[in-house]
């Protein structure tokens, strides 16, 4: 196996969030514009000092990233558009870090945002992909709830995981969300409330399902030297991976691309799962969190339930997990859902959490998971980040 070059000299800085709302009459362009403005303000930069832009958003159509540049009056010499849903954040980081290393751009704004009109989620899932339109949506039109219900049903039956195991994750994340100002869910959640919630797509119940909303997230990628000269706190990139359409012959998804790339990730990072001070896993449904705990090496395959029972996941817990509350408690702002964990990890590693702070956080793991195209999520990504003083 070839040895991948590291990310020495790359800094990730200025985590920003455009506050989430359940519904908005604004467009995705508005949310991305606000994120870009927040990045400039946070870094003290003029718009023309940004020479690279990486964009993700489901609802930019009929525009793409390039149309958005004219919309926003930006003239980057490096531009990328990453339509990978929940993996967008990690993948944007990978692309931008290499561009900065290579000198193709000096300061890259990575932004993801989406709006949510009252009817837009239905339109999104009805035409999400060719396979979804041909072979999923006509079957009950349950959207991702139905797809993840299949995975959850299979996972529970074959591993013995119980609803209460998933509930423990959801309850802990809600506790984390209570101190995070942008979380849309502000009420404490008890395990009893989780278990008693109404069924949505059995075995999934209300609190298993992520809530679509509007919002945006962003961060800047530049050289460490540049970050230091701007006086910006930053995190470093120790390792990243991505893998798409992994294990296509598995009859049903029980693992993602992380399982193929995990060893490469930790080898490149020089640290392992036990070294992580916090973990931000992609959590549109808790079964995916369980799968990532396994695939990313926190426990054996099929053993996530036992791992969940043996650990605690609040900011003060044995494994601080989704420290801002994750999508399940903050909300899923379209493609920004793929940035949420990365932006939160940056805040924690730079000691600037908006909510509860993980003490002395040095290493953080961020994962992404995106695009249920037919029967499974296709994009997997992960990154290991380190605080500047790790």
């Amino acid at each position: 196996m070839s040895t991948r070059a590291g990310y020495a000299g790359v800094a990730v800085a200025v985590p920003v969030t455009v506050p989430y709302v359940r519904y908005s009459i604004r467009s995705a362009h508005w949310f991305i514009a606000r994120a870009l403005a927040a990045l400039l303000a946070g870094a003290g930069l003029r718009k023309d000092e940004i020479d690279g832009v990486c964009v993700s958003g489901f609802l930019l159509f009929p525009d793409t990233a390039v149309g958005l540049m004219q919309h926003l009056g930006v003239s980057p010499r490096w531009l990328d558009h990453i339509p990978m849903g929940g993996a967008s954040g990690v993948v944007a980081l990978r692309r931008a870090a290499r561009a900065v290393q290579a000198g193709d751009a000096e300061i890259i704004a990575c932004v993801a945002g989406d709006t949510n009109h009252v009817d837009s989620f239905r339109h999104t899932i009805a035409s999400f992909s060719q396979f979804a339109r041909d072979a999923v949506y006509p079957y009950g039109s349950g959207g991702p709830n139905a797809s993840f219900a299949f995975l959850t049903d299979y996972y529970m039956r074959t591993t013995g995981a119980q609803r209460a195991d998933f509930g423990k994750l959801c309850v802990a994340q809600r506790a984390n969300a209570l101190s995070f100002p942008h979380a849309l869910f502000k009420k404490p959640l008890s395990l009893a409330e989780y278990l008693d919630a109404r069924p949505i797509a059995e075995p999934l119940h209300l609190f298993d399902c992520v809530m679509p909303c509007a919002g945006a997230e962003g961060f800047l990628v530049m050289s460490e030297a540049r970050a230091q000269s701007l006086g910006l706190p930053f995190a470093r990139v120790l390792a990243t991976i991505e893998r798409h359409n992994a294990f296509p012959d598995d009859p049903i998804q029980m693992r993602g691309g992380w399982a193929l790339e995990r060893d490469a990730l930790y080898r490149q990072a020089g640290v392992g799962p036990k070294d992580m001070d916090l973990v931000e896993l992609y959590d549109d449904y808790p079964v995916i969190t369980a799968m990532q705990l396994e695939d990313l090496g926190f426990c054996e395959k099929g053993a996530a339930a036992a791992f969940i029972r043996a650990n605690t996941f609040t900011v003060q817990g044995s494994l601080p997990l989704n420290t801002s509350g994750g999508q399940l408690s903050v909300g899923q702002a379209g493609a920004a859902g793929g940035y949420l964990g990365l932006v939160e990890c940056l805040r924690q590693l730079t000691g600037r959490s908006l909510g509860a702070q993980v003490p002395r956080a040095r290493h953080g793991l961020v994962s992404g998971f995106g695009m249920i195209n037919y029967d499974r999520g296709l994009c997997s990504g992960a990154a290991v980040l380190a605080g500047a003083h790790a």
Binding site: F121, R122, I125, A126, S127, Q130, F131, R133, D134, A135, V136, Y137, P138, Y139, G140, S141, G142, G143, N145, A146, A149, F150, L151, D153, Y154, R157, R198, P199, I200, A201, E202, P203, L204, P248, P251, I252, Y374, D375
Partner: protein, 415 residues
């Protein structure tokens, strides 16, 4: 186990009739191969001509070898249910009105994993299932997971009944009771559980063979219906239109000969007046009111059956003008199908080979017995298919037509 459905109560005319809505119908062009096979009652998947890989969802290239020759091949449907869900929430109006809705994920023995509408009699996973293709209310091919073995009352499954046109507890109009086919249809539909069967006759003052036996059937009522008379059709529709769930248009005029052997247009005009314009008159009068009842409860208006002929697909010169009238009727039936689709009503076209009757006397056997034709119509309703080719002759013509329409035309010209 599926509970048998019961006879619906009399409809309260004061209550609003629910408007028909359809499940999502948009599909890519390549995915319509599933619909094309399902319209004939077959479950077919793309099979790569180069490497024999079976694939689903439908694609533009083989997912194994990237080959692009991907013929649709009939599948056994055997597989294992590996996962299930019961939807309590849907983003679509059709399903929102019908939740809870059971879905499954099936690993086919042939390879692919398929998402299916799951029959209520399939056990919890893991369970052996048979996957079949059906047309849904929108007329689009969908996959259904059935129990491995037949069980009682299978057709009464609530979800399945949304995809079929089962005659059980439905009210049927057969447009012509004078023929052996019409009488066989009445008996078969009653045998399939039809609640009421109205049987048309154009000349009620005349007696015809079988009339007495027909009248003895308690479900049967005779109605005056002359499809060549616009007023007669209008009156019948005014009286029955709002009650008919299944309309079987079997009325036809059939005479032998082509162009040279019978001079003039009188016979051809009579054939067109009944076979083509008769369908048009019926469709104009019964169509709108049936469309309005496309979602009228458990026994909604559901199907329109046209008795066409295999001769509609390629002219049989010995019965040349009849073939032409049936070809015209087929074309109109396609128009009717398009217009009925928004209401979820299925238009079923039946293409029999020569029927065992007076007008096919000179044609060699095998000829289709009226009872066999009636059984085929009932099966088509139960399975909810769109196109039926009953009998050996029809099947053979269809195979020849599909192989080469031009070769068939030359063969038929040879007599």
């Amino acid at each position: 186990m599926t509970q048998p459905i019961s006879r619906p109560k009399r409809k309260n005319p004061v209550l609003r009739t629910r408007q028909p809505v359809l499940p999502p119908w948009p599909r890519s062009r390549v995915a319509l191969g599933l619909t094309a096979a399902a319209a004939e009652g077959r479950f077919a998947l793309q099979v790569c001509a180069a490497c024999a890989a079976v694939q689903y969802p439908p694609r533009e290239a083989c997912h194994v070898c990237l080959g692009d020759e991907l013929p649709w091949r009939t599948q056994s449907g055997a597989g294992e249910l590996i996962s299930q869900t019961l939807l309590r929430h849907s983003h679509d109006i059709f399903f929102r009105e019908r939740v809870p809705w059971r879905l499954g994920m099936v690993r086919l023995d042939a390879g692919p994993t398929v998402v299916v509408h799951l029959h209520g009699d399939v056990g919890a996973p893991p369970a052996r299932v048979r996957v079949g293709a059906r047309l849904d209310k929108a007329g689009m091919g969908v996959l259904v997971g059935f129990p491995d073995r037949d069980v009682p009352n299978m057709a009464d499954d609530r979800q399945l009944r949304e995809m079929t046109c089962d005659p059980k507890f439905r009210k049927v109009l057969i447009t012509d009771g004078k023929t052996a086919v019409g009488q066989a249809l009445a008996r078969a539909l009653i045998g399939a559980g039809a609640d009421l069967v109205w049987v048309g006759h154009a000349e009620p003052w005349k007696k015809f063979p079988g009339l007495a036996e027909l009248k003895e059937l308690p479900q049967v009522s005779l109605v005056k219906l002359d499809v060549t008379d616009a007023r007669s059709v209008k009156e019948a529709a005014g009286e029955l239109g709002a009650k008919v769930d299944i309309l079987v248009n079997n009325v036809e005029v059939h005479r032998a000969y082509g162009i040279a052997a019978r001079y003039g247009t009188d016979v051809a005009r009579a054939e067109m007046d009944v076979n083509y314009l008769g369908l048009l008159r019926l469709a104009q009068e019964f169509g709108p009111v049936m469309r309005a009842r496309g979602a009228d409860g458990q026994s909604s208006a559901v199907a329109w059956v046209n008795l066409l002929s295999i001769f509609a697909l390629s002219n049989f010169p010995a019965h040349g003008t009849y073939s032409a009238s049936k070809a015209a009727a087929l074309s109109l039936a396609q128009c009717l199908r398009a217009e009925m689709r928004p209401a979820g009503l299925r238009v079923i076209n039946v293409f029999p080979g020569p029927i065992e009757d007076e007008w096919n006397q000179l044609l060699p056997p095998p000829k289709l017995a009226p009872e066999a034709l009636a059984r085929a119509v009932v099966a088509a309703l139960r399975d909810g298919v769109e196109d039926v080719y009953p009998g050996d002759v029809a099947q053979e013509w269809l195979a020849r037509l599909r192989e080469s329409p031009k070769v068939l035309e030359r063969e038929l010209a040879g007599g």
